[in-house]
Symmetry: D2
Subunit: 227 residues, 4 copies
Amino acid sequence: MCVRCVRDPPGLAPDRGCEGYHLPLMFDRKINTQTDSQLPPFPTHTQVEGAEVTVYRIRDPVLGDAPGTFDEGVLDAPIATPEVIMQSDCVIIGGPGRQGRMSAEVSYFFDSLTEFQTNGCLLKGKVGSAFTSVGGVGRGYGGHEAILQSFHGFFLQHGMIPVGVPPSSAMEDAHMANPFGVCMAGKPSMDKAGSRLRSLSESEVKLAYSQGEWASIITKQLHDDGD
Amino acid sequence: MCVRCVRDPPGLAPDRGCEGYHLPLMFDRKINTQTDSQLPPFPTHTQVEGAEVTVYRIRDPVLGDAPGTFDEGVLDAPIATPEVIMQSDCVIIGGPGRQGRMSAEVSYFFDSLTEFQTNGCLLKGKVGSAFTSVGGVGRGYGGHEAILQSFHGFFLQHGMIPVGVPPSSAMEDAHMANPFGVCMAGKPSMDKAGSRLRSLSESEVKLAYSQGEWASIITKQLHDDGD
Amino acid sequence: MCVRCVRDPPGLAPDRGCEGYHLPLMFDRKINTQTDSQLPPFPTHTQVEGAEVTVYRIRDPVLGDAPGTFDEGVLDAPIATPEVIMQSDCVIIGGPGRQGRMSAEVSYFFDSLTEFQTNGCLLKGKVGSAFTSVGGVGRGYGGHEAILQSFHGFFLQHGMIPVGVPPSSAMEDAHMANPFGVCMAGKPSMDKAGSRLRSLSESEVKLAYSQGEWASIITKQLHDDGD
Amino acid sequence: MCVRCVRDPPGLAPDRGCEGYHLPLMFDRKINTQTDSQLPPFPTHTQVEGAEVTVYRIRDPVLGDAPGTFDEGVLDAPIATPEVIMQSDCVIIGGPGRQGRMSAEVSYFFDSLTEFQTNGCLLKGKVGSAFTSVGGVGRGYGGHEAILQSFHGFFLQHGMIPVGVPPSSAMEDAHMANPFGVCMAGKPSMDKAGSRLRSLSESEVKLAYSQGEWASIITKQLHDDGD
């Protein structure tokens, strides 16, 4: 069983919002800890036996890997390609929200997967799960559920199985808790260097783990038939 | 494996719209053929081995089973209860749309399932799939995808797994083909008795079968572990 | 200019959630202060000249005005009817959310307005605005924006003009701030008598006033041509 | 009163889908008829007195104006800029749908307008209206209403007034009629040169005119105070 976390981009420079950096990587074994040193502590082993997790980044199709616009280490993450998606049993994908829309970078990436739908439905049966963030300057307010539902729409267009965040008491305390996927809420703070930083709240981290574990369980059940 | 099709109401009187009568019962073994004599011909056996399918109706909480407002045989269908949902591995549920909202009758039924969410998350892991119909007098135009997504929202609130309509070439010809669930489109016609009749187009029937089969396959994979 | 605030129901008994009681009545002149004594202080005059505001309640079509299920004074509010809507230039309508759906009570009320759409489009050009609340036991988590958008869908079905919450700095501090309509967030607290109480936060009150004022300004501009 | 129709891109080459070419330009006085020679005949004067209509195109931020990928004349249309939006009283904007998402090109354009929201709310009170198209290879099926609602979400984020398609009997015959905006439905046909061509059906043209007229009426009422 192969789970891929795809982030758009996994760490962005201050001027474009840093929150990608802290987005949920629900569970991990191979994560580049140098790259993601600001992430909340992750278990070294996922609790779902057999899950192999890799974190990829979506490359910006307009700006590319323009120097100086990424935090240190971010560009070390491998770039997500259609082949990566094809070889995964489960894809957990997300990126910062833009006023009720997924970011154009993610949208372009989805466009690159179109042929899988029209050419044999190659993603059918894979598990998909989504995450996002909203709020703060230039992001608008709310819109996160429409964003997450548009990820689900993509999954369903390809015959994939959308998996959300299962109900839990942690939802009581996460401001933007919803059943569609984890959303990082709140305003960014500034670090010493003037970068905008955002981090998941404790409740959001719990929900992120819960979402990742749940997606893994469903994936295992659907794809690990005795092998 | 136990699949339940729940319709709101399975046959309504002319003044409230007949289209429930022809809504997709994707596959069946035990269907009350007297009740559903106007349905398109169904296979006597579902193609997914082990599936037991039962068709239920949602009781109108305001009008109840008022005589003279239902087509003959409709009231023979058993009434859906929270227990029926609890005992199913998969629930395929639908009803006529109302200007972008699921009908209030279905909404009330969902309210009756609330305790399952707050009391141990008893529906977690079940498969859910949805269908609807729109168009014609009093229904407004469009809104079917928002309706189907609100069914998915209910499923996800309970930790259920939403299953849609997998991609297929039949989508090219069904006017309201979409990945969320089958939607019966078009204007109703009048029968000799002045009742408004609607029926699924050939493409819609194909998509309905496809949705039912796909929901059964996923359910079998998730719930039939060796037994 | 005539603005109507319609609440579903304006005060509900503990077992069904009290939050209706504190929902935004954005501005008012004629409000029954006895009925709404728990509301945050309202201006005695709206700031938009010429606005006449009346608060109505939507009657529960299943339980009706069952004694003992409403807080004191709630049933004093006049009942919303199709005629009330017809005679208004602007309708600000809301009610508690149910796991991503507007409450069935509101949905039934909207069904009662269907003939206006199919019979001359009598609501065309009126201004509509919406509010809701989510969270807590039995409500599920999130789903408020889908609810508010389904109100907008209703407005647009009738050719009405949806008005949302204009951007403001108060959005930074309201957890469920969004452009579609005010949503009361958070868990209810218990009063001495064991009733669940919820109230709008200070930021939510600001947004509610802002939404009401904005709806009034647009309504005035659209409907007050020199008279 | 100044109405702008912004299309993403107004005419695309065969390999990327031609349907932009035929999208609704609801009414016009200044349209470049050479560019839009395949459009259905437009009135030379809009029926709403005082409306000045200009058609712009959104420039592809990745491919730009790559030669050979546009139909003849398309690049003659002026390019939409933030200033164009600022100077309009009403913006009617659309583009081909991508599996439930607005195209990334439009999404990028909206990103370029972000500062208007955070810097004085400069678009507040303007009228916004949207259109799209779905279906066919690479577009997925359905999703048009979610797309149109995400346009409305953008409008509302900026304090704009969304205007939809008013109810009319033409909705009975347009397959994807809905209250949010005109959607061109159906499969493209091939012309002699192998280009995929799509055109609005007669009902869709009626709805497009109706949407444009309605947006103009509301704009006139909101913005033409005696001048």
